[in-house]
Amino acid sequence: MAASFGVSSAAVQAVKSSASPLPSPPVIRSEARPISGRINRSRKAGKIATHAVAARTENPASAASKTGHEVLLFEALREGLEEEMERDPRVCIFGEDVGHYGGSYKVSKGLAEKYGDLRVLDTPIAENSFTGMAVGAAMTGLRPVVEGMNMGFLLLAFNQISDNCGMLHYTSGGQFTIPTVIRGPGGVGRQLGAEHSQRLESYFQSIPGIQMVACSTPYNAKGLMKAAIRSENPVVLFEHVLLYNLKERIPDEEYVVSLEEAEMVRPGKHVTILTYSRMRYHVMQAAKTLVNKGYDPEVIDIRSLKPFDLHTIGNSIKKTHKVLIVEECMRTGGIGASLTAAINENFNDYLDAPIVCLSSQDVPTPYAGTLEEVTVVQPPQIVTAVEQLCR
């Protein structure tokens, strides 16, 4: 039990004592206190971005202040990538159509023109091999960012991700580090068909040695991308096909977001709702209805899928005593299933009711729109679940 709490602070310790010779900006904690000392390369003198909570466009205060710049989520990812490539010449990108085409979701647009064809490598359609290539390159010190055009294609590279990416640091007794980032869009989109609507976080979560994070806002997308690239561990960054065009105002100054921490989206006291990626938006939609009905849900975007931020989650449960998990994974073997087990193990005494986990149906995602809608969790279900939990 102590280990789960320990992971979070250990990671913080690692950042503080990072041997990296390059300057690091403040790491933002979810309690909104900057922790590491030096503030470098701030374009606005003395200003640090201290909010881990995404600056919401509905919030009149932050919109009126007009600091920062507006970006779409895919642009935020690109900014993060570009800043890291600028900062560290070892960072390179591998993927299909990432270079000349600019990326199928425009995340790497313009980077090949800037950094050349070797640093932004257009690979043939050979996922297993180019992922393996990335691992091999990482073993010698390069820091490749591998893009799966759709996360589902990375199933072809499962062996490379699991055995080589995840395990080589261990099996070599610590000799090799594999600082790769594996990223790409996944999740259920708009009628993309079964094979293009997969949630690989379910399958990868058992792989020892990798970290998994899921971004959900332009702010955390950029922060997580940067953190993932800087991490010495292999990180899988899950993006979502439907979230690329989200718009948000993000800080001009440099920031990195912690890989192991969850994000407090909406503090509350009646129930803890744990979610991530696209489902965060379904939850927030349901939250509006719930607030109108007099409920006060606490919404946490867990962000870190492996390891779980049980510190933040635990503090919330100690306050509300009720947990609802809303995820896009399928019911069987998903992130929700693991989170349920972890919470039951660690916080059983604090629960007033059994944990409710809303997940997608255990079916291949159908093409027909009406069926696809029923496959994933919709806001009315979330409202009903909270009402039942809080009875």
Partner: protein
Amino acid sequence: MALTRRYLHLLRPVFSARLLTTASTSPISIETSLPFTGHNIDPPSRSVQTSPHELLSFFRDMALMRRMEIAADSLYKAKLIRGFCHLYDGQEAVAIGMEAAITRKDCIITAYRDHCLFLGRGGTLLEAFAELMGRKDGCSKGKGGSMHFYKKESGFYGGHGIVGAQIPLGCGLAFAQKYSKDDNVTFMMYGDGAANQGQLFEALNMAALWDLPAILVCENNHYGMGTAEWRAAKSPSYFKRGDYVPGLKVDGMDALAVKQACKFAKEHALKNGPIILEMDTYRYHGHSMSDPGSTYRTRDEISGIRQERDPVERIRKLILAHDLATEKEMKDTEKEIRKEVDEAIAKAKEIPSPDPAELFTNVYVKGLGVEAFGADRKELRAVLP
């Protein structure tokens, strides 16, 4: 050919039906415009046996396929088709030539650019459009979508979204054919992008090792989404990459050349094991409807190919040159085709979406449900929202 026969009995006697019924089946010999190039094999003759009936049906079937794809483009822009939609216009000759050389007992398996191959295998326009629009009478009950068209009874095995994954499947089909000694072959189709997948070479090795009746057909349209073939492959001579497996390079825009090559390949595969056919073809649309198709190739290139090598135009010119039909008759055929396609779309639009209960059917074969049962195995706990 069988495709048109299927329509003949449905149509009232109109121009093209009369044209086809009266068209002669007496053989004529036509030379392909380009020779075949062989790798470790003597290529077949350039002289192809065909007939007026066959040429006219080629025209009709290809024009139908072309019209279906253009209509799908409009439907996609009207948001009636969603998700991914990969169109085949420009490549029709491959589907048609192949069908002309084989039977429905032979198997075809392909990737996601499958609408026209489905039609060639006897699929109807209605099934195709219904599936594209996600309606319950689509060929996969609306659950598969554009990338998952199948027709088991005609030997069409799909319809696959993941690049290259269909090739080992095709190897399996060929294995089963050898196993049952039924003298049929499998055509497994893939693109120039998929040609760099490791699983292709694994499957190739196995097919060659066990002399499977496998024909690997590379539809080389020269672009793997946005990446040109020379940027993805050290050797874009896909017909040579089988090394120990013989290969043939074919002008994929010439339906007669394709027919000749497939006939040759089938004979070869039944006697000597696998062979690779590289079809030199072209797609007018982008990779999919989400790709404009103009950022990595020039409009001049696209219109140039359309002018010089378009498969439908080729057959039209052949028909006119041999006096098999008049210009007016051919234009009338095209008008009929347009009407047929429009009618199928109108009918498909009327079909309702699948029932929500369909979400749980076909996950397993009947008897094993997806609904979670309670501890006593009787009380149903998971219900539809």
